[in-house]
Structure formats: structure tokens, C-alpha cells
Symmetry: C5
Subunit: 88 residues, 5 copies
């Protein structure tokens, strides 16, 4: 997984029907010191993550597991809200 910061939202009315009701958040990858190191990407969120929060982001086909549906076309999902990180 990567560490991400929630930076914004995406609105899409005309979309695959399996994405209806899913919140779409703009994410930037950060390092453990909270420096942004990644480009804008879009993740599905079910945990209610807010702008500015640090989150754990799962990519690839594993992200489909978030929705308990092997047939949903998503490749990025927020799987945790981060309380703290400790790095040597």
C-alpha cells in the first residue's frame, strides 16, 4: 500500500453503474514525513476520509476487494485512515 493525503473530490454523473454511490477522492502519495511524492490519483472511499487526512491506499485489482465485488472496475481504494506513523 502507499501512504496518501486526501486532496479533493471528483464528481462524475455518467459512470459505470457499479460506481454509483461510491465517493471518489483525489489522493497524493506522501512519504512517512508527509512530503507529497506522487501525482493526483483517484481512490474510492468507504471510510469517510476527509480532506487533509492521511490514508492507507491499496492499488490494482486488490482494490476491488473493498467493495466485496470481484466485478467492479476500480483500481484504487482507501483501506485505512492513519492515526500515526513512526519511521527511523
Amino acid at each position: 500500500m502507499i501512504i496518501g493525503i486526501v486532496k479533493g473530490t471528483v464528481v462524475s454523473t455518467q459512470k459505470d453503474e457499479r460506481l454509483v454511490g461510491s465517493k471518489l477522492l483525489i489522493i497524493n502519495q506522501v512519504d512517512a514525513d508527509k512530503n507529497v511524492i506522487g501525482k493526483d490519483a483517484v481512490a474510492v472511499d468507504l471510510l469517510g476520509a476527509g480532506i487533509g487526512e492521511y490514508v492507507l491506499v491499496c492499488s490494482g485489482s486488490s482494490a476491488k476487494s473493498l467493495l466485496h465485488n470481484p466485478d467492479v472496475p476500480i483500481d484504487m481504494a482507501i483501506v485505512g485512515i492513519i492515526d500515526s506513523m513512526e519511521r527511523t
Copy 2:
């Protein structure tokens, strides 16, 4: 997912039979400020996205879900047409 802009089309007559009838669009990744940050790639489109539109693009094996077929050889699909993006 990434944010993409539709930049063009690809025509392929001789192709895997499961791709017959699929529209193939040239996509560039963009950031939330609509700056192009990615190279030309090709996505399958079922939503009728037009040149210049901003779209949500799913990559990897998750893209196969678009066609409701676990046996189709595609790795990139347009899963939404973006109405608006808001980024802090």
C-alpha cells in the same frame, strides 16, 4: 484510478475477437488542474466519451470488469466522465 483527457482514436481491424465493437480512445493522464502529466495510452470506452472530455480511467486487470467478462484482454477502461474536480 487516474484522471485522463481524451485525445484521439485508434483503429484496429485485425484484433482479438473479444475487442470487436469496442471503441478505443487515446488518453493522456492529467492532474486535477488539467495539466497533461502522462504519455499516450489506449482505453476501451463504453460511455461515449468525446475528444477533450475529462474521464476517470481504470487500469490493470480491474478494467476487464467494464466488459463484464473475466476473459477479455484489456488493461485500461474509461469508467466515468468527469463533471467537476475540486482540489485544495
Copy 3:
């Protein structure tokens, strides 16, 4: 998918038995203006693509679908021969 140009061939006698009979082509990613933008990679071809032809290349586990076999260890396949590309 990416756009590729066929640049050469690879010969491997000692290989996984499920790859026996598969043609292995060296591919370079190109943009829609046909500039090479990628490194040498190897794709399985069933369409009879020739050296110098532009092709549509599927990567990752989706490529396994080309061979109608969920148990074949390949991660790149040619899924179409490109007739034309139009990019704004």
C-alpha cells in the same frame, strides 16, 4: 493498453511448457506520433504481427486472456494490429 512497434524476436527453447508454440516479439512503446517512448519488452503474438508494425499491447494479468487460459505465465500480449491513429 499501450501503442507499440514490433522491433524484433526472442528465441527461447527452454521455457515454461505453456509458452511452447507462442511467438515472442520485442516491443517498444510509442506515442501516437510514433516516437519511441519505452524500453524493450517482450509480448506474445497470435495475430502474425510483423517487424515495424504498430500494435495494441495489453499488459499485466489481463494478457493471459489472450491465450484463453487463466493458468499461463505471461504478462504482455499483442491484442490488435493498428491501422491508423488520430490524435488532436
Copy 4:
């Protein structure tokens, strides 16, 4: 797989229920000479790897196999603790 060094830990209370009980470690990719060559990433650990240990890291949907569960949203797992590496 990549070679990684364990650099820290991530704590997340509010997370997908299938991640409850999984230890989350911050990993950096290294080369065989132990130079850090990758950015901070987060892997699930079941082997009890400690800070500073060199580990074998599996990425993508294959990482789900670690938990013997095809329905868990993880994309990075520690699959071995490295005793030694020899590189010419």
C-alpha cells in the same frame, strides 16, 4: 519481488475490517548492496520482521495470497526475511 528494508510502522484504527490484526510496516526498496532505491510503502507482515531487517516483498494482487484470502484489499506483503544475498 523486491528487496526491502523495514523502516517503521503505521497505526490505523479505522480501517477495512479484513485488515484488523495485520501488522503494517513501512518498507523501502533496496538493491542487493543495501542502498535504498525506493520510496516509503506499507506492507502487511505476518513473519515478525523487525526494524532494520531485510525482507522479500511481494506486490500487487499476489500479496493477497499471504492472508489465504482472495477477498482482502492489500497490495504489498512481506513474504520472507532475508538471511543473505550474493550478487556478482
Copy 5:
């Protein structure tokens, strides 16, 4: 797939039980002219590839197919030993 050169070995005693008995080789991606273009990575080998040999490497979840086991946590496998490459 990518073209790789075998550069070394990794020894791991404490590892996922499904990796017991698998030979782990350090691989570098090369181009068709045999220039090294990739970082150290680790692939499972069943073909008996030796140090200095050029090999065909499959990445991602497709690599699991090498072991005929959909439940093994590996993401890179040697699927062929290369006899010759020809590039225009």
C-alpha cells in the same frame, strides 16, 4: 515480459511456507542489446537458470501461474531461458 540477466541469489530461511523449495534469483532488466536498464529484483526460478544467463521474466499476478498455484504470494518468475534475440 521483460528480458533479464541473472545476477545473484537470495537466501531466506524464514518465509511463507509456499515459497519453501523455490530458488530465488536476483534479476536485472536488460534491453535487447544486453545493457542493464533495471534495478535489482527477485524472481522465482524453476528452469535452473544460472548466473549470467539471459532470461524471460514474467511479473505481477501472472507469475503465480508458474507454480500452478493461484494461492502463492509471488509476483516475479523466470518463464524462459533466452537462446537468442534479434532486434532491428
